[in-house]
């Protein structure tokens, strides 16, 4: 949610029509209906890895987040701007991830409740561009850390 809020500031034009609503162009894959193929010009987050450190005052949880995004460029340029479009998404992702922390919120209640700690992460690792016909895609990886609080 923090990245979603940041994206609306960085590029309010990046949106997606999803379940009848226009939303910022970032989503968590597991929280939506199955996509095939993935939507273009949108950041798709996947939680793919998990680690815990129990030897601390508060248990630390490390979750690996994979962020996939792809583009075919714009129709107005006949897709010839797909490289630039992907670069724009690279820059938006790098900007979204700063600052490298956000308050931890409990979304099991409505409205969400602010918790006591912060989730934090390091710089993203950008993978190479994958080319499939006229579609360029990239995967970035970020490890997100947080502390388990009492009651979690």
């Amino acid at each position: 949610m923090a990245l979603r809020t940041r994206l609306t500031t960085i590029n309010p034009e990046r949106t997606i029509l999803l379940r009848g609503a226009v939303r910022p162009g970032i989503l968590v894959e597991e929280a939506e209906a199955f996509f095939s193929p993935l939507p273009n010009d949108v950041f798709v987050l996947r939680w793919i890895g998990l680690g815990v450190d129990l030897d601390l005052g508060s248990t630390m949880v490390a979750e690996q987040c994979e962020i996939v995004y792809q583009t075919c460029g714009t129709q107005s340029f006949g897709g010839l701007d797909r490289g630039r479009s992907l670069s724009e998404m690279d820059e938006e992702l790098a900007a979204m991830l700063q600052p490298f922390h956000t308050p931890k919120l409990n979304y099991t209640t409505t409205p969400p409740i602010a918790m006591l700690t912060q989730a934090f992460w390091d710089e993203p690792g950008f993978g190479p561009i994958a080319i499939q016909r006229d579609r360029l895609s990239r995967t970035a990886n970020v490890t997100v850390y947080s502390y388990q609080e009492q009651g979690e």
Binding site: L56, G57, S58, M60, F100, H101, L116, T117, Q118, F120, D122, Y145, Y147, E149, Q150, G151
Partner: protein, 324 residues
């Protein structure tokens, strides 16, 4: 009822940030940092007179203080300990090359390469400089007022040095940062501007003066200050001058907690040295980032609280809601 505290593990910090402030060498007065009043400052906007030198890497503190046991009895056993020597060294690498980082990372005085006068004979420290222009009253740390003919001598993108003429004084020179110690009177009228830290980039030139891209470290120019263009910087291996600054290093943890290392007096102790770090650690390439290596010796101050002599203050501001 939900708990309103948590047990915070050791801080997880990404990098270390460095800030420096000039020691008044003549009065031997360092700049003190008060974490209780100033600890919450924005890392991008430190409180005056601290100057941010950005992120640093390979920050290491090497304690060298020695203690000795006081023995008593047969067989001898330690009754108590005494501190024989007080010494701490600090080392790190600057990730940028600026006037200040270069000066801090050299073991001697650091000079500005003043723009040379036409036809001047070459000199390793910079040729005879083109004449300085007089700064007019009303100038500020970011706006320098000049006569229109003088302003026309500069252009946007120039680097300028601003300080008073050298008039034969000895001792520490340069204000507010002492750039050198003069043992016996010299003849170069531009000497103070050669060693001054009052340098900045010109962002705009108008008929009335210069707008600077960054504030002069010394603040508004003092009466009698003059301005000269410079082309770069130079330092020398050798010499007898030691840079001395107050230093502050900050580690910010993932929970917002902060660790401060405050050295009221830090003197450079090693000769100028660089480190080459490959831009691509996985693949062997010829591209290296050249960082400035700095090694410093912490000098003591007397804490007015109890008269103890100390070289460093380490402060910790816990994260909100963390057990202490």
């Amino acid at each position: 009822m939900a708990a309103n505290w948590f047990s915070a593990p050791a801080p997880v910090a990404r990098r270390v940030r460095g800030y420096f402030a000039p020691v008044n060498r003549t009065a031997q007065t360092p700049v003190l940092f008060d974490p209780s009043e100033q600890g919450g400052f924005s890392l991008d906007a430190p409180p005056a007179p601290w100057i941010s030198l950005g992120w640093i890497q390979e920050f290491a503190r090497k304690p060298g203080s020695k203690t000795a046991p006081v023995l008593t009895g047969i067989p001898a056993a330690t009754l108590s300990q005494v501190r024989e020597t007080l010494e701490v060294q600090v080392s790190f690498q600057f990730l940028s090359w600026t006037k200040l980082t270069m000066a801090l990372a050299t073991g001697s005085q650091h000079m500005n390469l003043l723009a040379p006068a036409t036809g001047a004979a070459p000199a390793a420290i910079g040729a005879l400089a083109a004449p300085a222009v007089t700064v007019q009253s009303g100038s500020t740390a970011t706006s320098i007022l000049l006569a229109s003919a003088d302003a026309a001598k500069f252009s946007a993108g120039s680097i300028v040095a601003l300080d008073v003429d050298y008039t034969g004084q000895t001792g520490f020179v340069g204000s507010p940062v002492s750039g050198a110690f003069v043992r016996s009177a010299l003849t170069d009228v531009d000497y103070i501007r050669r060693v001054t830290f009052n340098v900045a980039l010109v962002s705009q030139v108008t008929s009335t003066g210069l707008a600077l891209a960054e504030a002069l470290p010394g603040g508004a120019p003092e009466t009698g200050a003059k301005l000269q263009a410079l082309t770069g910087f130079v330092d020398r291996e050798g010499g007898s001058f030691y840079q001395e600054w107050s230093a502050l290093f900050v580690m910010e943890g993932g929970q917002g907690e902060r660790v401060f290392f405050h050295y009221p007096r830090l003197q450079s102790m090693a000769s100028a040295e660089e480190a080459a770090i490959s831009l691509d650690g996985k693949h062997k390439t010829n591209l290296n980032r050249v960082t400035l290596k700095g090694q410093f010796l912490a000098l003591p101050v007397t804490d007015p609280l109890d008269g103890e002599r100390v070289v460093c203050y380490r402060s910790f501001l816990p994260a909100a809601n963390a057990l202490v």
